[in-house]
């Protein structure tokens, strides 16, 4: 039963990776990475139950935290062009990139 669920999750992760590679705009790629991260959380949870060692769930929880922060950081990088505070020249670099 868990094997069927983990296979379904693996297929979804493959599809998300395909979208990440093919995605025309950067935001498609960030969306695919976000989806991939959420699926990793679920895969860790299913494997924790598959192997019977339920202390793996802490890893799934931490991964959910890190995934969200990673997506927000990637968005900040893409929209602002850099990570430090917005000074005049940096904001120009981030604009008008996708289309």
């Amino acid at each position: 039963m868990f094997i069927a669920a983990s296979l379904a999750i693996l297929v979804t992760m493959g599809l998300a990776l395909a979208r990440a590679l093919a995605g025309p705009t950067t935001y498609d790629r960030i969306m695919a990475v976000n989806m991939f991260g959420t699926k990793t959380v679920l895969l860790i949870a299913v494997i924790a139950f598959l192997s019977g060692r339920t202390d793996l769930l802490d890893i799934a929880l931490v991964y959910a935290l890190i995934n969200f922060i990673g997506v927000v950081a990637a968005l900040k990088l893409v929209t602002q062009g850099n990570f430090h505070s917005t000074d005049t020249d940096a904001s120009a670099a981030g604009k008008g990139e996708p289309e």
Partner: protein, 109 residues
């Protein structure tokens, strides 16, 4: 016995929804519509799978950890999708509106 079949149904439904969402992000023409498909897999698929696992775990520490993951995903995945759409819109990625398609203004399809 009932709990096993119930968790089996939840797990398979979650897996199926994940695959549906995965196919959705390839089929939709525009970034914003793809965000809907990614949203499906982030929310309901995750909740169903976590519910299925929670039923298996019964009233234990594992079920509490699953509930924590559930609560956290419940709050962060919509926020992440919102931040994504907000950033895309502000940086000039135009959604493919139906009005544009009718007047043939859409440059990318």
């Amino acid at each position: 016995m009932i709990i096993d079949t119930l968790s089996w149904i939840c797990l398979l439904a979650g897996g199926a929804l994940g695959i549906v969402g995965g196919i959705g992000i390839h089929r939709f023409p525009d970034f914003y519509s793809r965000l809907h498909a990614a949203g499906i897999t982030d929310t309901l698929c995750a909740m169903l799978i976590l519910l299925g696992l929670g039923l298996q775990a019964g009233w234990s520490l594992a079920a509490f950890k699953l509930a924590l993951i559930f609560v956290f995903l419940f709050f962060t995945s919509p926020t992440a999708s919102h931040a994504l759409a907000n950033a895309a819109l502000h940086s000039g990625l135009k959604p493919g509106l139906d009005r544009d398609k009718r007047e043939g203004l859409n440059h990318h399809d």
